[in-house]
């Protein structure tokens, strides 16, 4: 379990996170939602250790992230997989080299073993015959899959995704959502996704944390979000007529 207690983070006098507390469970896809500037990315970067919080506690299975020595922090980071918004694949490396990179850095596997593992994860994300291609030669959806393959190649315990669907067409976005959810179950990971995509939230959000102005304004499941009367959530999630109608029909069905 990842537990966050009273997380505070400010930049140049502006407090971006104002005491956020929540917890994320194993085997679930957790979503962080909120408007632009609500503190989602800062929250995720604090969890990843890319930002050091001003105060508060982040615990990865009872290991306090900010209090770990360098060796333990490195160990923890090996247990983390991350899918960045733009993929963040290394341009100068081929797909195979990109995925192999963490294995080369942190394991003593032979080239053959690494090659097999790369093919295994590529197969898992439904990609074939792309090993020798460079990231620039792939479509956006394929790049996201490669990024997912790289994130899971070390069998992580924790998977973080920052806007995994941004820039993808709706059909590919659903494929990526389902893939992330399936992998979360298979690897029994804690997955935390930062998203603006309400389709994803409704589809795979087993736990949803809604941030507003750096404060946790609501949390619940993708079923509960239909029923909530929380004004901030309703204004944000049901701002489009389509989602308003989806909500109405869900509520009518469940009456």
């Amino acid at each position: 379990m990842i537990e966050v207690k009273n997380l505070v983070k400010s930049f140049a006098g502006t407090t971006v996170l104002k005491g956020v507390s929540t917890a994320f469970e194993k085997g679930k896809t957790n979503m962080i939602i909120g408007q632009s500037g609500s503190g989602k990315t800062v929250f995720l970067k604090c969890l990843l250790g890319l930002h050091i919080p001003d105060s508060g506690i982040i615990e990865f299975d009872d290991r306090k992230h900010t209090e770990l020595d360098i060796k333990s922090q490195r160990q923890l980071r090996k247990e983390i997989g991350m899918v960045f918004q733009g993929g963040a694949l290394y341009d100068s490396l081929t797909v195979e080299e990109n995925i192999m990179f963490p294995l080369k850095m942190f394991t003593k596997q032979s080239h053959g073993e690494m090659h097999d593992r790369v093919n295994e994860v590529l197969k898992r994300v439904n990609l074939a015959n792309v090993n020798e291609k460079f990231p620039a030669e792939l479509s956006g959806g394929m790049q996201k899959r490669v990024a997912i393959a790289r994130a899971i190649v070390m069998n992580p315990k924790y998977l973080f995704c920052d806007e995994p669907n941004s820039g993808l067409d709706p059909q590919t976005a659903i494929v990526i959502d389902n893939l992330i959810q399936e992998i979360t179950k298979e690897y029994d990971m804690i997955t935390i996704i930062n998203s603006h995509d309400m389709n994803s939230v409704m589809e795979i959000g087993e736990k949803i944390v809604f941030l507003k102005d750096g404060v946790k304004a609501w949390e619940g499941t993708n079923k509960e979000i239909f029923k909530t009367e929380n004004e901030a959530v309703v204004n944000f999630v049901y701002s489009s007529n389509l989602f308003k109608k989806v909500r109405e029909s869900y509520l009518n069905e469940t009456k």
């Binding site: 890319l50 490195r74 980071r77 090996k78 983390i80 963040a88 694949l89 341009d91 080369k104 850095m105």
Partner: protein
């Protein structure tokens, strides 16, 4: 941010760069790639510029010697001295600061704005050590060789200029080259080259690593990197000349 803050941040960066590589096999692989990118790919431009500038130095010297009392072998002597002491180590380093410096800043800067550096950090990799140390070692190892080549080709360029223009005899030129040859001057040039190589690898890396924004900022950072590398090289050249020859 004022200049002193930048200088402080630069030295803090160097502290992170000079750590033991996390995996020697990966370091070795990256080092060879950097030798190719920063060194081998600069061979052509260095050879081309050295040869022709060597020729121009010889022609200019010949055209400016009007007095019949000044021996013609001084053309070879002046060309040799000019090329070994200043033209090869300093002028070539400024050319490399432009070519390689902009490459280093734009490649690291692009990695920064496309979150590739964050991806390294999330994996638990010291990104500064991984990205910058191989560049420094590659530059320190390869640039002295490039500068030696520039010296050789510069003098050859001068020799051929004489042959093609008939401004001086090649025998006089060769005699001038051999006259009062002091190996310390080569040593002096190589010491300067090592210092400049360090500047060429680290100043642009600093500008690229700390860039914020998008492609426009990466472009601006590249320009700044070339300007600052050149300024630092010129200033260090002044102090090193004073220290080593003064």
């Amino acid at each position: 941010m004022n200049y002193f803050e930048h200088i402080g941040k630069y030295f803090i960066m160097l502290k992170q760069v000079f750590k033991k590589p996390q995996k020697w096999s990966v370091f070795k692989e990256t080092l060879f790639r950097e030798i190719e990118d920063l060194g081998l790919k600069s061979l052509g431009i260095i050879a081309f510029i050295s040869f022709f500038v060597g020729g121009v130095v010889a022609i200019q010297t010949a055209l400016n010697i009007d007095s019949p009392f000044i021996p013609k072998y001084l053309i070879g002597f002046a060309t040799k001295r000019g090329i070994i002491l200043e033209f090869a180590p300093t002028f070539m380093s400024i050319i490399l600061a432009g070519k390689v410096g902009s490459f280093i800043t734009s490649s690291i800067g692009t990695m920064r704005v496309t979150e590739q550096i964050d991806a390294l950090e999330v994996m638990g990799i010291n990104s500064l050590n991984y990205l910058v140390l191989p560049k420094i070692i590659a530059a320190l190892f390869f640039y002295p060789l490039l500068i030696l080549l520039a010296m050789f080709l510069g003098i050859i360029g001068g020799y051929y200029a004489g042959l093609l223009t008939d401004l001086f005899y090649s025998e006089d030129f060769v005699y001038g080259i051999q006259l009062e040859f002091d190996p310390y001057y080569i040593q002096y040039a190589l010491i300067k080259t090592l210092v400049f190589a360090f500047v060429i690898a680290t100043v642009p890396a600093y500008h690229g690593y700390y860039v914020k924004g998008g492609s426009l900022e990466v472009g601006r950072a590249s320009t700044q990197a070339v300007v600052w590398s050149s300024i630092v090289i010129i200033l260090l050249n002044y102090f090193l000349t004073q220290m080593l020859l003064g």
